[in-house]
Amino acid sequence: MKFEHYGIGVAKGMALTFKHLFRKPITTQYPEERLTVSRRTRGNELVWDKERCTGCATCAKSCPEGCIEIITSRGEENNYIVDKFEVDMGRCIFCGLCVEACPFEALFMGYAYERARYRRQELVMDKEGLLLSGERQPSGYARPKIEAGLPRQTLLLDRDKVKR
C-alpha cells in the first residue's frame, strides 16, 4: 500500500480540525443552562387527573409491562371509585401506550425528567404522587390541547450556527 497522497490527506484533515478551533462549542452547561424539551416529550413520570378518571383500567390493560395497578370499588351512582392507582416507575418503559389508550383523557405523560431517587421503593407512584396539580406539568403527548400551551423546543439546529 503506497503512501498515496504525499501527506496531503493528513494536512487536509489537520486544516479541518484547526478550523474547528474557531467555532463556538456546542456544550450546554447543565445545571446552569437547561434546554427546553419537546412539547410531546414522554418524560419520566405520569400525571393523573382524578376527576376525569372513571376507573375503566384501559391504561392498565394496554401497558406492555403491566406496571399499572388499579383497584376500584362500586360507588353510589353506579360508577367506580378508584381506591388504588399505583404505577411502578421502575418498570415503566415510557412507551406512552397507556396515555394513547385512555378514552377519557385522564392520564398524561409528565414533562419533567429529573426524577432520580435513591431507593427503588420511592419510584412507585401512588394516587397522591400522581395527581395533576399546579407543580406537575403534563406533557402534550397525545394531548393536543396541552401541547399548544407548552414552550418551543430548543433545537441544536438553531444553536449551531455554522457559516456555509
Binding site: M1, I8, G9, I26, S38, R40, Y141, Q153, L155, L157
Partner: protein, 367 residues
C-alpha cells in the same frame, strides 16, 4: 537452531472498549498474527422472542424498539409491515411518506454512529466520533419533536404512524437537509484521503463476493463486496418505488469499502428525504384498527432495508390477540458468520477494525 514458538490464546473479553456491546472473541495468536478466532455470543440475551408471545401486537412495538436501539424507527417499521401483511390492513399515503422520511433519517443517524465508532476504533481519539454525534444530535432533536423520545421511539403503529408531524417539523427538517451534505463533505475532508486510514483499512478484512452471498450477508457488508442488492429496489415496500436514488456499491469488500458505502448511503438518504418532503400529501396518518387485533390464521414475513442489513420479522398467528411465534431475522447476527474468515491472517490491531467495520449492535445479535 529454530526458535520454538507456540500460539497463545487471548480473550478479547466481554468488557472491552471496542467490542460494541458485550461480545467476546477468543483469538489464537502466533506472535501478532491471528490464526484462529472463536466468537462467544449470548451475553445480552433477554428473551424478546418469548416475551413477545405473551403480549398483543400493539404492545410488541416498544419491544422492537429495543432490538437495534440505534435504529428504532427501522425496527418498528419492519414489525408493523409484517403485521399489516398478516392482517391485510391498508395504510394511508401520508403515513407511508412519513414512514419513509423517518426511516431515512434513522438511516443517517445509525450510519453516523457506525462510522464514528469505526473511526474511533482506528484510533482517531474521538474527534470524528464527536463531529458525527453533533449531526446525530440534530436528528434526535427532530425525532423528539415528533414523538417525544430520543432513542426508543414507539412511533409506528399498525395501520400508520402514531401522530402527525407538528408545524415546526418541516422547516427544521429543511434546514437540516440543506446543511447535511456540507457536513458529509467535511467528514470526507477529514478522513477520506487520510493516508493512515487508507493504510489501516484498505485491503484489510476482505469479504469475497462469493462468501458474502453464501452466508446471506446483507446491507453495507454485502454491498461493500460488490453485490448490488438493496431491498428498497429489489422488493420495494412502502413508497420507495416512487422515489429516485442510487445504490452505492463497493468493489473489493475491504473495510474501507464498507466505510465508503455508508458515507455514500448517507448522501442518498438526504436525497430521498428531499423527494419525500416534496411529495408529502395531506391526509390522515392512521387507519382505524381494533384495540385488540385478531389477525386471521397464517404467517407473514415482513422485511426492510434497515441500516445494518435486511431486518425481517416472521410472525405466525393463530387468530388470537398475541402472536403464536415471533421471530426476528437479525442482520448483524447473520453478517457475523463471516467474521472468522475475514479475520484470519491479520493482526491483533486489525481484529478490532474488521469487527468495527461490520457495525454490529449486540442487542440485535442476542435479542
Amino acid at each position: 537452531m529454530a526458535l520454538k514458538t507456540e500460539p497463545f490464546v487471548i480473550n478479547v473479553g466481554p468488557q472491552h472498549p471496542s467490542t460494541h456491546g458485550v461480545f467476546r472473541m477468543r483469538l489464537t495468536l502466533d506472535g501478532e498474527v491471528i490464526v484462529d478466532m472463536e466468537p462467544v455470543l449470548g451475553y445480552l440475551h433477554r428473551g424478546i422472542e418469548k416475551l413477545a408471545e405473551g403480549r398483543t401486537y400493539t404492545q410488541n412495538i416498544p419491544f422492537t424498539d429495543r432490538l437495534d436501539y440505534l435504529a428504532s424507527m427501522s425496527n418498528n417499521l419492519a414489525y408493523v409491515l409484517a403485521v399489516e401483511k398478516l392482517a391485510g390492513i391498508p395504510v394511508p399515503e401520508r403515513a407511508e411518506y412519513l414512514r419513509v422520511i423517518m426511516a431515512e433519517l434513522q438511516r443517517i443517524a445509525s450510519h453516523l454512529v457506525g462510522v464514528g465508532a469505526f473511526l474511533n476504533d482506528c484510533g482517531a481519539f474521538m474527534t470524528p466520533l464527536l463531529y458525527m454525534f453533533r449531526e446525530r444530535e440534530k436528528i434526535l432533536d427532530l425525532f423528539e419533536m415528533v414523538c417525544g423520545q430520543r432513542l426508543t421511539y414507539n412511533y409506528m403503529r399498525i395501520g400508520g404512524v402514531s401522530h402527525d408531524i407538528p408545524a415546526e417539523f418541516l422547516p427544521a427538517l429543511d434546514r437540516f437537509v440543506t446543511t447535511m451534505p456540507g457536513f458529509i463533505d467535511e467528514y470526507d475532508q477529514l478522513l477520506a484521503e487520510n493516508e493512515i486510514l487508507l493504510a489501516r483499512a484498505k485491503g484489510v478484512g476482505i469479504l469475497p463476493e462469493e462468501l458474502a452471498i453464501n452466508i446471506s450477508a446483507s446491507g453495507p457488508v454485502l454491498r461493500g463486496s460488490g453485490v448490488r442488492w438493496d431491498i428498497r429496489k429489489a422488493d420495494p415496500y412502502s413508497v420507495y418505488d416512487r422515489l429516485e436514488f442510487d445504490i452505492p456499491t463497493g468493489s473489493v469488500g475491504d473495510c474501507y469499502d464498507r466505510y465508503w458505502v455508508r458515507i455514500q448511503e448517507m448522501r442518498q438518504s438526504v436525497r430521498i428525504i428531499r423527494q419525500a418532503v416534496e411529495q408529502l400529501p395531506p391526509g390522515e396518518v392512521r387507519t382505524e384498527v381494533p384495540h385488540l387485533l385478531h389477525p386471521p390464521e397464517g404467517e407473514a414475513y415482513g422485511h426492510i432495508e434497515a441500516p445494518k442489513g435486511e431486518l425481517g420479522f416472521y410472525l405466525v398467528s393463530d387468530n388470537s390477540i398475541a402472536p403464536y411465534r415471533f421471530h426476528v431475522r437479525a442482520p448483524t447476527l447473520i453478517n457475523l458468520t463471516a467474521l472468522r474468515d475475514m479475520m484470519i491472517g491479520w493482526k491483533v490491531a486489525d481484529a478490532v477494525i474488521i469487527f468495527g467495520s461490520i457495525d454490529i449492535c449486540l442487542a440485535e445479535v442476542d435479542r
